[in-house]
Assembly symmetry: C2
Homo-oligomer: 347 residues x 2
């Protein structure tokens, strides 16, 4: 099969890989229809975070091609959403709902597991990992939103859930990448009344507003803290969502968080430092991390299919497998918020 | 009146202060019966944290001496517990339950407010701040436990509540000071099945067991992590309570916390660093801080009066006002877990 290969920092090509086959009775092989490039892929591309050489990509939807003898909930031809991590569904962490921390799981597109930026993927623990999409004849708009459930929508939702957003809340979203934009959707979905999006990019500002942001602020650093404190009567927001993963974004999130609130953080940390004095002296908590996407997908899927949320709008660039290298550089150069890759036809 | 005076690091004496008087109609003046020395007082004594020169001490119980014209719930002669911070009970933070972060509040025994290690204290917002103790003729044992509600029992409870302890949980308490010991009580009270206390001190180990600890571990650093992971099937504890405030204790708490759990932290931070990779890659949260003691006291008071909890056992040294300097050095030299100071007679 043809698949995107990571050859080291800055080196993304399309090459040949062995066709995946069933290796255990709980496997499925999925033909990837839509894949995409994640912000975390860019950290590998830039050489900031390590990634095994070989297949890459952890977000995809596709059609089940083959199932192992023990797979009971899926059949060839089923349209499925893959969460960005596979999981056995039975370990202590899965049982507690932390499917992204499965004791026997891992991420697609790394450490020898096929990537979502290739034609086929062997999916371990297929029953536990994949979510079947009911119905058929879904529009391209719907399919893009289903693809967003693979990672970014679940990750934005995890920031919102982690921060404990309640109906009527005032929320600030730090970060206007695809995850930050999905966090706006999630905040609105959980009933936030006021959603302040931090963004300097007109395209992303517009999308944030479409997703439910009520306020856009372009300030940064101390200025944004002062502004948001002023906007909230000097108290700060009920929930600050940290959707970047840098020291500055973490500092900003804590600086605008109301006493007793929780910063919901999902950014892969780079130079992040948690301001412990704010934790202790203002009782501002910190929760978040790798999203338990498999746990979240079913409820979000319902909303996508009902047209209540449309996270697929984060894809503002698209190409096919041959264009994968530019799919990366478009995001690096900020020509794209998030790049969609059409791998094969059908649904 | 006579009161303990902080004259700078290492300088604790008893001196004369003006008798406090009502300054606003919402004030009360309380005659202190029992006060004590807090672990945080030792940071001032050591010169590590700043403290205004003058009165000191933020934990006390006593008898109402005078009330302002607008005080409606208290009368002279009432026995009261003072939370370590005063609060107006009406600001946005108080309304949300964060009485320790009152927008118009502050700590006793600092910045010109009388301290609990003196004969009398003017208490601002007396109705909102003080908790009246019902009944009379309380035993000395009960009175000591009421004194513990002023800070350490509420603070240990805050660690436990912040960590989200649920019935049946396995909990580890990092720190065997008075607050850590009270956190053991709190964990048991919230229904923890297994409570692992980290302590190398035989006296404190015995008290931890009396309070409900099921396991005592003496290891530190990597050894304690390995041991507790082994004790919990490789998963870690459902709740780790950080009751010290140092880098090592914070690192230990995070290292033994189960995926998806919350570290409940109340230690005043010194060289604490939050391991952000554990937060993100293991979904271990962090909550805690200055305890909203005023919110917690009523429910804990019920348990003290009913004899269900006995946090006063943390006092293993006592003296009177003239002995205050040794009350500090006894704790510094670890002759005492926590020093009680008998200021005046009666209840």
């Amino acid at each position: 099969m043809r698949a995107t290969l990571f050859g080291g920092p800055g080196d993304i090509t399309v090459g040949e890989r062995p066709d995946p086959r069933l290796e255990t009775p709980t496997d499925a092989v999925v033909r990837v229809t839509l894949g995409c490039v994640c912000g975390s892929d860019l950290w590998y591309y830039r050489g900031v975070n390590p990634h095994a050489l070989g297949p890459i990509g952890h977000e995809f939807i596709g059609v089940v091609e083959q199932v192992g003898a023990d797979v009971t909930t899926l059949r060839p031809g089923d349209l499925v959403v893959a969460p960005f991590t596979y999981c056995d569904g039975t370990c202590a962490n899965c049982a507690a709902g932390w499917t992204g921390n499965c004791l026997h799981g891992g991420s697609f597109g790394n450490h020898g597991i096929d990537g979502g930026q290739g034609e086929f993927v062997r999916v371990p623990y297929a029953d536990a990992t994949l979510v079947k999409v009911p119905g058929g004849g879904h529009s391209d708009t719907t399919l893009k939103s289903l693809l967003a459930l693979s990672d970014v929508m679940c990750t934005g939702h995890h920031a919102a859930v982690s921060a404990g957003i309640e109906p009527g809340a005032t929320v600030a979203v730090v970060g206007d990448g695809a995850v930050g934009l999905c966090a706006v959707i999630a905040a609105k979905r959980l009933g936030a009344d006021r959603i302040i999006a931090l963004s300097r990019n007109p395209t992303r500002q517009a999308l944030a507003r479409e997703f439910g942001a009520t306020d856009i602020v372009i300030e940064r650093g101390d200025d944004v803290t002062k502004l948001i404190m002023d906007m909230t009567g000097g108290l700060g927001v009920d929930a600050a969502l940290e959707c970047v993963g840098t020291g500055q974004s973490m500092a900003t999130a804590f600086s605008i968080a109301r006493v007793g609130s929780i910063v919901g953080a999902i950014g892969v940390p780079h130079d992040s430092v948690v301001p412990i004095d704010t934790v202790i002296f203002r009782n501002v908590g910190l929760r978040g991390g790798v999203a338990p996407a498999r746990r979240y997908i079913p409820e979000l899927l319902d909303d996508v299919l009902a047209g209540r949320v449309n996270p697929g709008l984060v894809f503002d660039y698209e190409t096919d497998l041959d264009g994968i290298a530019d799919a990366y550089t478009a995001m690096i150069e900020r020509r794209a918020t998030k790049s969609l890759v059409r791998i094969s036809a059908g649904q």
